[in-house]
Structures are given as C-alpha cells and as structure tokens.
Symmetry: C2
Amino acid sequence: MTTFDLVLVGFGNVARRFVSLLEERRAMLERDHELAVRIIGIVTKRHGRMFSLAGVDAIDAASGLENGARLNQSMSSATASDDGSSVDFVQRVVNAARDRASRGELVVVETTTLDIEHGQPAIDHVRAALSGGAHVITANKGPAAFAHRTLTQMAADADRRFLFEGAVMDGIPVFNLVRETLPAVTISAFRGIVNTTTNYILTAMERGSSFDDALADMQSQGIAEADPSLDVDGWDAAAKTAILANVLLGASITPHHVEREGIGPTTAARATAARAAGSRLKLVARGERHGSGIDARVGLEELAGEDLLAGIEGKQNAIVLATDVLDEIAVVQRGGSLTHTAYALVTDLVTIAGDVKNCRATSESLASTPARRIR
Amino acid sequence: MTTFDLVLVGFGNVARRFVSLLEERRAMLERDHELAVRIIGIVTKRHGRMFSLAGVDAIDAASGLENGARLNQSMSSATASDDGSSVDFVQRVVNAARDRASRGELVVVETTTLDIEHGQPAIDHVRAALSGGAHVITANKGPAAFAHRTLTQMAADADRRFLFEGAVMDGIPVFNLVRETLPAVTISAFRGIVNTTTNYILTAMERGSSFDDALADMQSQGIAEADPSLDVDGWDAAAKTAILANVLLGASITPHHVEREGIGPTTAARATAARAAGSRLKLVARGERHGSGIDARVGLEELAGEDLLAGIEGKQNAIVLATDVLDEIAVVQRGGSLTHTAYALVTDLVTIAGDVKNCRATSESLASTPARRIR
C-alpha cells in the first residue's frame, strides 16, 4: 500500500466531491490499487487555507465552508502563512513535504476555475508543484489549454505525472484512451460536442424553449456558470479544443488560436429550421492536421440527421477521433455531473499509483526471478 | 529494444494482415514501443506448417499460400513434424523456444476460426502456450467465450498475458478501455450492436433490399462467412456477449448460456415496419447483473429513434457500458475491416511490450535514483 499526500489547490464543488468520493471508494482503492491518501494542505482564493504534514480533515473542512467558516486549522506560519499567494503556498507546502515528493508520493490537485485570458494562476501552481517534485492532477482546463507542451516536458524531466483527464470529458476517458489503448495509431483529426450548456440550450430551443429559459435551467442545475459567457460564447469549448489539439494532434496552441463561434437568442430560429429540415444545429469543436499546421475551431454546424453527433442531445457529450488504421472511433458520454469530474481526478490518481505499483511488482519480480532478464 | 518471437497458430486473412501490418509499422513500433518481432513458427490446418528458431519469412510464406504452395520450410522433425496436431506443434515449438519463453519474450498468436460448439482446439492452443511460458494474443472468440476464467487464471499464475482485444470490436479498445482507463468503476450492464453482418442486413432490408441480396453483399465483401449461419443465427453475437459478460461482469458463461435470436428473410417486414414507425429494429447484445447471476442475451429489439444504438447503421458497431459512477459510456466503431482486427493483435503485442518496457524503466530508475523508494 502506498499513501499519497495530496495538496488541494482550489476547494470548490469539484474538489469537495473528489474528497467525498475518495472516502466512498476508500476500500476499493486500497484493495484494487494499493492506494491510500492523506490530505495535507488546502488553499482557497477567498476562504483561507490549511496545512499539516500529519494530515488535515478535509471532509470536516468542507462542511465548515458550507456553514460559512474559513479554513484556518493547524497552520504553521513558516510553511503556509495566510498571506502570500496561492503559488507561494504550493511552493512552501511542497517544500515542507519534500521527502514525500522525492519518493513520488506527493500530488497537487489543481481545481481552481478557468482563467480564459492566460490560464493563470493555475499554470504557476502546476509549475511550482512539478518543480518541487510533486505530481499534478487537474480538472482545470487552463494548464493544458495554454501550456501543455511546456508542462508535459517539465513533468517528463522531473519523472512526474501531469494529468488532466477531467478537463475535457469529465471522467470519460479520452486521453487515457489514446495513451493506453491506441498504440501505433495516428490521429489525424477530431470533432465533437464538448460543451454541455450550449448543447442543452440548442436541444431545448429546437423544442421551443427560449434561450434565456434554457440557460436559466442550466444555471439552476449548477452546470452553467453564473456568468455564462464562458459557455455561450464558445470559450469553454475553445479551451477544450485547444487541449485536444495539443494532446492528440501535437499542436502548441491556446484557446485564442481557436476560431470561435457561440450561441445566443437568435440561434433559436436556425436550430428549429435545421430540425424541420431533418438535420440538427450543433456547436461542433474540430481540430485537424493541415499541412504543417493545425486547424482548430468551434462553430455552429448543420449536421445531417444520421451523423452520430446529430444524435448527441441535451447533456451528452461526444468526441469522434479520425485515425489512420481504425477509421473513426467515437466515445460518447451519456451523462455528466460533478461526480464525473471528481471521478476523473480519482482516475488520474490511480494512474500515478499504477506507476508505483508496477515498479513494486517489477522490483519483486527482479528479486524473485533472476532468470527473467530485464534489458 | 526487445525482440519478441511469435508463433502463428492459424494463418488466414487476419494473421496475414497482422504480419504485413507489423512490417508497415516496424519503424513506429521500434521507436515508440521499443518492440521488434521475429516469427519463428506458423501452423495451419490444411496448408502445412513451418518452424525455425532463427525466424521464418512469413510474408514470403503468405504469398506462397496465395499461389497455392504449402508451408514446409526449415522444418525440423524433432520439434515440429508435419504429423501431430496443431496443439502438439504449439507444445513442441514453445518447448524448443523455452529460453525465450522464460524471459517473457515468446508470444503465441491464435487466429484459428471460431468453433461454436466448444471453442476448440483454440482453448488447447492457449493452454499449451501458457503452460510453456508463452504469452497469448488472439482474435479468436473461442477461448474467452468458453474458458475466460480458467485461462486468465492460468496466465496470472504464469505471470504471462492472455489478451484478446480483437475478439469483440476488432481494434477498437473495449477491454483495454475498461482495464486501463476505468479504475474504481463498476460496470453493471452492457448493451451493444456487435455483429456487422446482421446489422448491415437489417439496415439494407429497411431500405428495401432482400435478405438474400444483402447477405450476398456481405459475403462478396468478405465480411460474412461462406456459411453465414454463425452470423445470421446470432452465434457470433452470442460468443461476443459471453466474452463481454465474462470480462466486464465477472461471469463464467459460454455462448450456449446466452439467450439467442437471429435474423432471416421474414425479419424484413418487422424492420421496415419499425422504421416507418420512427424506431429501428436492431439485433442487440445485452448483459446485466441480476441478483447473484448474469442475464445475457442476443435478440431483436425495436429501439426508439433517439437511442444511440438506433443510429448505428450498416457496418458500424457500438457498445454502451452502464457504470456506477460515470452513468453510461458508449464506444462506437465507425468502420470495420480486416486491418482493424489485425491491428487489435498489434495492440495486444504492444501491451505485452509495455510490461517489459515498464520493467526496464523501473530497473533503470532503481539503479539511478536510490532516493526513490519502491515499497
């Protein structure tokens, strides 16, 4: 059993659900993945921070926050004083836990909200973590959308993981799928429906809802942001498109390089007209190799009724990968929730634990089977 | 770089495409997976066999077979005489290559055709290989459909792999997806469209084709068997359902435990009526946990038009997994071919090479980073 020490950077809904999910799955994680966790630090933007190498009670802290309390337990001014930025906090905590970091058993969990201008300070959180020898797992789109190549290289140089399975399709595996199950396949293009709020609004408008009512519905379900412009102006989809292009097609772009279109009240007429004609209006994310470059865009498209993406309604998401040897492969997410996103972080943690587990299995195998040559 | 020695049991279209695909992808496999291959033995049912520890020329042998020649090159009567069963051949070749087997560098590639009665002699090929310390990769549905639990246990005891990614969805990852990318998720049920011939015939009949014409079309494309009863009577789908139930739901069933229905000329009327009513008639494979047991069946179902499976037309396949924490996830195969199935074998080979590569990375890491504790 390996115990991983976790530092939570951001402690909103996703991080809190992650913490409760770890508790719910504790037995399974221990049994199947030889993985135990201890949370040693939490930092928030407005609700304080807490740190203890002996571990903090994150579930208790979450209830406290929900009752209006601040985080302020077990603070040591030397390592994590209440002043200083969140980036400073990460540096100090990682440094305080450097013996664990050196063993590969420290993980920074980045769940702050997306900054669509520069992806900050999330990128700096990731840098601080990797520089100190911690792994990073994140559900924040910023780091991979703005700095995928740099951060991936930093992680490789440090022999640590930088994982973000939850950034695009919540817990539905996309990056793991490509990394672990499609060896010797080249992906030439992708297209997909990756933003839940706009897809839900389009589906509702086809059926006669107004834009405002459908948006209010998404907000009341906690899916759209209070400021919905990230969703409806296509920025969320553009950030996901940048990540997909960076990871699957080897691009090095940001969301600002993605050609972008959003939806609004006037989209309703196009959506109903398309449906009446047997096709469907969808906000489609696309990326494609194009000579030496990459074309990436988010835009409204009228899809023929038999197109797989035309049938992706409401809160479903889907990505279709075009490959050289397997034609097209589609992965469809049939439901989304906070739990999905939180689960993605659990998946990433298990990936890290798997590295350690494989190491141990190998070292035992090396010890017990001298005849087995490891070249 | 690790060189794996391969023994091909069965040398039909899939195995021949596998051999040419290995050649086409040689540089990528060496560069990205540190994987090289040498084919040391081939055994067929009616066209002879060949064996040489120094390697045989499988591409030349394939052209020979296509020109009516038999395999008879480099035979040594001590190890692989032309008499004796294919199971004997596997035993003898694995024994002759036992030093490679002991290093985990011998792989038996089983691609004989499905025996729907008992899954034989494929199961015995797998047993002989694992007993001798070889890994097994197979595109044959028999072993996992009839003896999954036993063979998986044998492989685990021998510290070898028994992989069959190509048995259900060709090269589209299903088992790798679940094994590598869905940790800490419990699958409670699956449903899917897994037989190409029947799905193509149903789609064609909806559009006015006769059963016989559509079937002839599939036969001329080399997709349906010359004796199509395995497809149209639902046996192929039942074998895949048994595998999915055995692997994903922990069942221990055979195709004969799967409730089964097929299609025929009289199905046309139902298919056109369903389509006229806005739904679609599909041959659906299902498995579900049910109290302490597993319900598994293949049957015609009228699916509502908005059902994802209703949109799976022609030669597409799809599987929808019901999970506890991620709701439903669907994987859709948008095209199928011989190359897909052959590629699945390449994927399995890369999985085996990955074990060795991880070992080496770890042993280097152990050597160079004493501070990194591997517990």
